[in-house]
Subunit: 554 residues, 2 copies
């Protein structure tokens, strides 16, 4: 699997999904083209999916929020007759590298989370209407919806057959949502998750696996009614005509570099280093909502978010040997602040400003969850203010220039905090990054808040606890070099495990449990011979021969 | 590593620890005998430890609570000159099977947790007095203490060098306690955990890694003063003469069975099944505290707890191919209730009754955390009442006999709930097992509470949601057989991952994070070639040649 995986798509290119818009209700048909797999070697039978199917789905969910803000209910259903969805394609999993499996699961998890976020944040509620068999990743799609309707036709069922059938976990949030979201009793969950054929009809309702079981003859009416109800729930009265998410401007270089309009990615293979350089805005901030609307996808805040998101996904899936991502910026902090202030000030009353702010929340979470060492380099001439400073607080550590650097006439390095650092962008643990940072010393959050609005140079930033290290001209080059060399020499697995544990202290949420606990167990199992060995269940699937297991418990 | 690992020991047999008792202060010297490893092939240099060292430590902590209730402060220090503790022995880890590594870590984690429990529950506070190098598992011992004092002699340091040195995690609670207990700022934690040589002196204090840094000349005085302070804190005025934890009565059979006085373990290898049969008490409950004191370790509630604890540990470490543990009981429920009521009624005012109750909390947690499928079989003649019923709620699922069974004249199967099921034995998530069970339907906890005190036969127990399945004579035998056969055929790894996710819904605590998240990542890393492959860091350690890593991130 060496071709470049592209996370950019648009409706004209979809092969696996159709969307029908009807006022406040959208219907999303999953109709996977079995010959449309992202790679060779497998067919996407029975509405099973691979990363390509999920990239389209992520695009749909994203466009729903920007291009179709009028939608209040999204009905997710199958475009095929007898099957809802058979889950992730097993042959694809059997053929994939460990890294691809893990990254595939992470991306699908992030996409499932956007279903729930769309409901809570934007009143776009996902309703799952199940006819036919809904198994594994198929049921995990359902679990991510706000409401699940199952037809009672004597055969349609929900199932998580991974454990008995494939010797792996329902790893796209399945186990966690069964216990934490749907609160299925743990012994019933045990039975459900070890029953290949799943659960039908009234039992599915009694066990809390679905919200509604409807006779087949009344199914369509019930789905339509529920969609109307959800759609009518929560849409504020606003100007709800969407904007177009136009294609990203993007160019790939021979050396692996990527150039967007506001983001550049530089690759230094010897150091296993990618540097993401963010350019501050050159154009003034929008002056009015009409202005913002006219700028649409080209407004700096939205453009940067989309480009950064794409860059991160590209590095995750296509640049596996890159161990460290360094963030730099250059530009004028005041301009950054003007742009983000406009968005923040209007997020309460304007859907587009709000969606831009909410998208930043998702992009920052995507950074938090990126399994590479993240370092912020705060150099002279940088513009880490507000939402850009938030990227620093997502990093594992940060280095800041202090004092005069010979021949460097750029503005002295500074960080500027704004209201963006104190609320609108919580992490997966539901705390702001600064609250998470200062769990041991909450007074420091208040001290940081008092310093809002003015450029904080190295000494002050360090005293406030906002940066890890401060170096002057004498040490800066060497210290960064030593750090990068050292980091590049560590075992990537140990770094992944360490970062997964250190980045999310404090409270747990369903999201942190999915990414921290469920994912870790799935990754472990994805390594075990019982699943992926030559006689393992994933390799043997479809061969008619059962997996052979080493029966020792650990 | 095929010899039987024995979890029973006593002070006359210790090879690695010395304890000095002085009124309310005990001093615990770690002085590992480098030739006293549990297995051949490694030397326990520099106060490094293996499971054998930890078995002694667990025994000390346990005896401290029963034999030395007068102790209020335990000073943990090194019996060697220049080193505090170098952590888990690396060569031992390199030689161990995956299963042994994982079980070793789990047991050491459980033992570390008992340090903290002793402080919170029984006012026995562990104080760590560090001179010399305190690294890896050594610092994890310190982290589990209530207070850490580090001498400032220019060389003594604390360190978690696992990631840079060994390509594994500080997996005995290290990462979690750094973030959650000590609340070290995450970027400083990142620096600390990737710095082989650790942190000394004032920086260790500034970074919250220790509670106190003391000049070397004042170290002994400071330790003594802190011990007095902690010892004076919280001891209630009671009769504080301990009881002796006399040797368990125990016999191993050729077929793997184990026979204790109140517990029998039967092994059916074909089904990979161990059945633990608990006998209810035949003797009457103690009539007075004097009575209880006279019975000492032989009182049924304490005897059973110790035997059950030993049986579980034995199965975990010595019977790796056993996939399912079934719990059965036989006896008279009223007798169980009389014994546990006596303990519960006196737990408020009498230290021994309280320690017995608290020990049950630990034993039940040990069951929760046992990585085997747990099934409760509630047959006629059983006595699952109160604390024994709690074992059922720790199971993944339960089966109960219903109606007449031909030729079976034992009392009809019933469960009796008591106050023991509604408070004194919380799980690691800090909820009772019934609250955890009914997260989706809290009203059922109240309904169960209303049914306290009377025997609940199958129909009622099922209606109250207390059991998973109820079968009559016609189906009982087949259903159990099919379940056991099916369970025995599943991949043990998938079962482990599934159970780790389904057993602990609801809130997270430091404990659930250690066992659910940190452990999962460590297990994953313990499988990765970068750690355990032929060129991995664990295998190469001490050879002078660095580990070679596959640099792809996942």
């Amino acid at each position: 699997m060496t071709k470049r995986i592209d996370f950019q798509t648009d409706p004209t290119r979809y092969r696996h999904w159709r969307v029908a818009y009807d006022g406040a209700v959208a219907t999303l048909f999953m109709d996977v083209d079995e010959n449309g797999g992202l790679f060779d070697g497998y067919q996407l039978k029975l509405n099973s999916y691979d990363l390509g199917v999920d990239i389209e789905l992520a695009d749909i969910v994203q466009r729903m929020r920007f291009e179709h803000p009028e939608v209040g209910a999204v009905v997710l259903r199958s475009g095929k007759d007898r099957v809802f969805c058979a889950g992730a394609n097993i042959r694809m999993l059997g053929l994939s590298t460990h890294a691809h499996k893990v990254n595939f699961c992470k991306f699908t998890n992030e996409t499932r989370n956007t279903f729930e976020a769309a409901g809570v944040e934007s009143g776009q509620h996902y309703i799952c209407a199940i006819k036919g068999s809904c198994a594994g990743g198929g049921y995990e799609l359902a679990l991510a919806c706000d409401h699940i309707i199952l037809t009672d036709d004597g055969s349609s069922s929900v199932a998580l057959p991974e454990v008995p059938l494939l010797a792996v976990l329902p790893g796209t949030g399945g186990l966690t949502r069964v216990t934490d979201k749907r609160k299925v009793r743990r012994d019933l969950a045990d039975v459900f998750c070890s029953t290949e054929e799943g659960v039908r009809g009234k039992r599915a309702l009694d066990w809390r696996l679905v919200d509604e079981v409807v006779a087949n003859s009344k199914f369509e009416a019930a789905v339509a009614e529920r969609a109307r109800e959800f759609a009518g729930k929560s849409k504020p009265v606003e100007d709800l005509s969407g904007i177009a998410l136009t294609p990203l401007l993007r160019a790939f270089g021979e050396d692996g570099s990527v150039r967007y309009s506001t983001v550049e990615v530089h690759i230094e293979r010897a150091n296993r280093l990618a540097t993401i350089v963010i350019s501050g805005p050159e154009e003034p901030a929008p002056k009015s909502l009409a202005n913002l609307r006219a700028e649409g996808a080209s407004t700096w805040m939205l453009r940067l978010a989309r480009e950064l998101d794409d860059a991160i996904l590209h590095l995750r899936l296509n640049e596996l040997e890159i161990g460290v991502i360094a963030f730099k910026s250059h530009g004028v902090a005041e301009n950054v602040i003007a742009h983000e202030r406009f968005v923040r000030d209007h997020a309460g009353g304007d859907w587009l400003a709000r969606e831009i702010q909410l998208y930043w929340k998702r992009v920052l979470k995507r950074i938090d969850l990126t399994s590479r060492s993240l370092v912020g380099l705060i150099e002279n001439g940088s513009c880490f203010a507000g939402v850009l400073a938030e990227i620093l607080f997502a990093c594992d550590r940060t280095y800041m220039m202090s004092g005069e650097f010979e021949g460097d006439n750029r503005a002295t390095a500074a960080i500027t905090l704004t209201d963006s650092n104190f609320g609108p962008h919580p992490m997966s643990n539901d705390l702001t990054r600064l609250k998470t940072r200062f769990l041991g010393d909450p007074g420091k959050v208040e001290a940081a808040a008092r310093a809002k609005g003015r450029p904080l140079e190295a000494d002050e930033a360090s005293k406030l606890g906002l940066v890890t290290f401060v170096f002057d001209e004498v040490d800066w080059g060497d210290e960064i070099r030593i750090f990068l060399e050292e980091r590049a020499s560590f075992s990537p697995d140990a770094m992944t495990g360490m970062e997964a544990n250190l980045r999310f202290p404090g409270p747990e949420t369903m999201e942190t449990r999915i990414f921290g606990r469920l994912t870790a167990w799935q990754n472990w199992i994805f390594q075990r011979p019982n699943a992926v060995g030559e006689s393992g269940a994933l390799k043997r699937y479809g061969s008619g021969v059962r997996g052979e297991y080493d029966m020792r418990r650990v």
